[in-house]
């Protein structure tokens, strides 16, 4: 299937609960290709959970979720849904890169090893091909000279940039960012946002859960404010951030801006 004829991500009435705790209560949204889509909201609003549903790290309880026209985690035959096997879920995740709040680099591998791991293990690329691309990606995030450093020897900002390179190594068509700068010291936030800005300029489709309103305003193409497991308000970032319509949005923005 080709991108462009349908949205990159489409959510219809997505529900998710952990036990009795209703985290998502009917999310409808659409993310188009080449769009930078920002998700903001107070903690516990469900924005990270929604992001994790997109690559099936969480199973949704109700509703439908499509990525690039394909149902996430299930196959539909007639009106019956068949759950994907582990291998099929893994196959689907290849095209979706994810960057975590706490980096989650593999501590027993060097920066280069982290970036090469998935192409070699999952795509069965030869090591020389994978190494070449990994070095190019590390150079792109400004860390070519740290290729042989272990994660423990890197600063938080450097680790997160390696993590972005690691996700890009699988050449995904969609990148998910789960509060990528929240665990960083303030002076290290800029270097990570710069890399993300570069990605956006290259036309990568990105969904970004963030508290960086400046980034959302400058780089974002669309923004959604979530609270209590529902989408409260959505629109162009500049409009929502400067002229919020909903009281809850106003209250939240007055605290973070």
């Amino acid at each position: 299937m080709t991108t462009g004829t349908h949205p990159m991500v489409l959510a219809e009435g997505v529900h998710k609960s952990f036990g009795l705790n209703q985290v998502l209560q009917g999310i409808d949204l659409q993310v188009n290709a080449r769009e930078v889509f920002c998700l903001i909201g107070p903690s516990g609003s469900g924005k990270s959970t929604f992001l994790r549903c997109i690559n099936h790290l969480e199973k949704i309880n109700a509703g439908r979720l499509w990525v690039d026209g394909h149902l996430v985690g299930y196959r539909q035959k007639g009106d019956k849904l068949y759950e994907f096997k582990d291998s099929e879920v893994a196959m689907q995740r290849r095209d979706i890169g994810m960057v975590f709040q706490r980096f989650n680099l593999f501590p027993h591998m060097t920066a280069l090893g982290n970036v090469m791991e998935a192409p070699v293990q999952v795509k069965r690329e030869t090591r020389s091909v994978a190494r070449e691309r990994a070095m190019r990606l590390l150079d792109r995030v400004g860390l070519a000279e740290k290729a042989n450093a272990y994660p423990a020897q890197l600063s938080g900002g450097q680790q997160q940039r390696v993590a972005i390179a690691r996700a890009l190594a699988m050449e995904p068509k969609l990148m998910l960012f789960d509060e990528p700068t929240s665990a960083l010291d303030p002076e290290l936030v800029g270097e990570v946002l710069d890399v993300m800005r570069g990605l956006a300029e290259d036309g990568m489709t990105m969904i970004v859960v963030t508290h960086e309103m400046g980034f959302a305003r400058e780089v974002g193409d669309a923004l959604v404010f979530m609270d209590g497991g529902v989408v409260v308000e959505s629109g162009h970032p500049r409009e929502v951030l400067t002229n919020p319509q909903h009281d809850r949005t106003k209250a939240f923005l007055s605290k973070v801006l």
């Binding site: 790290l57 291998s87 975590f100 027993h108 791991e117 999952v122 272990y150 600063s155």
Partner: protein, 321 residues
Amino acid sequence: MPPTFDKGPADDSSAGSGPAAAISKAPGPVPIKAIPVRHYGRWISAVLVIAILALLVNAFANANIHWETTRQYLFKDVILDGVWHTLYISVLSMLLGVVLGVILAIMRLSGNPVTGSVAWLYIWLFRGTPVYVQLIMWYNLALIFPTFNIGIYSEPMNTFMTPFLAALLGLGLNEAAYMAEIVRAGIQSVDEGQTEASHALGMSQAKTMRRVILPQAMRVIIPPTGNEFINMLKTSSLASVVTFPELMRSVQNVYTNNLAIMEMLFVACFWYLVMTSVFSVGQYYLERHYAKGRLRALPPTPFQRVRQLVFSLRRPEVARS
């Protein structure tokens, strides 16, 4: 070789030596000249301990020990043969224990309630009864199962259950129960985020386990496994009860003839100490290997430590980094 820091932009890696150097070069601080606290207690306890040691040495010097016998038997073939048997039954039992332990740990961690309960039952049974009892039971299995019969192959249990097999099963199956718990703890110690990151990259369950989880779990698994092996070297002496000719059995065979019981036990102690010491050194290097990536710099090997000491005597300010 420890991983070296890159000589990139000097952002954070070289910060350590700065302040210390500045303090030592600051002009004119008057050094404190105070009378140190006197640790009278330390002097008294040191003297006391030395006195007790002296008494012990004196006691042994005057004891009725025929050291010549100990020296004579130290490198006799019968003894060396026992050392060899101790080593190989320990290694084989440990191998059986590790393989079975990993299987049991994965059974317990799998979502399957049947395999989980079976593994739990196994661990409960084998950890809850003494190895000594288990060894004797394996050796006497013929009393309840006169023939070993698995359909395609059958043999009288008396000839099938050799001392070697009884020792291997007794020690190995018991060890598996302990190893299962060690492996399980190691796997569970790896952060959940590692699994998620691996899955998000499209890696399968099995690949995640093999490439991401187990290498990190090893750091937690290796130290107690080394302890288990060193324990095994000593516990294997119990296999003498099933007439397996390991070190303890060899020593017993000798002293039932020459009646030099203590002298021969000294021989056994000597060899057990040699074996446990050698493997303790090996364990140090193994742990060092699996610490890679966790620590900013690996701890020095004993050899490097000596070199660093010599080096620092000459140029103390450089040796710190």
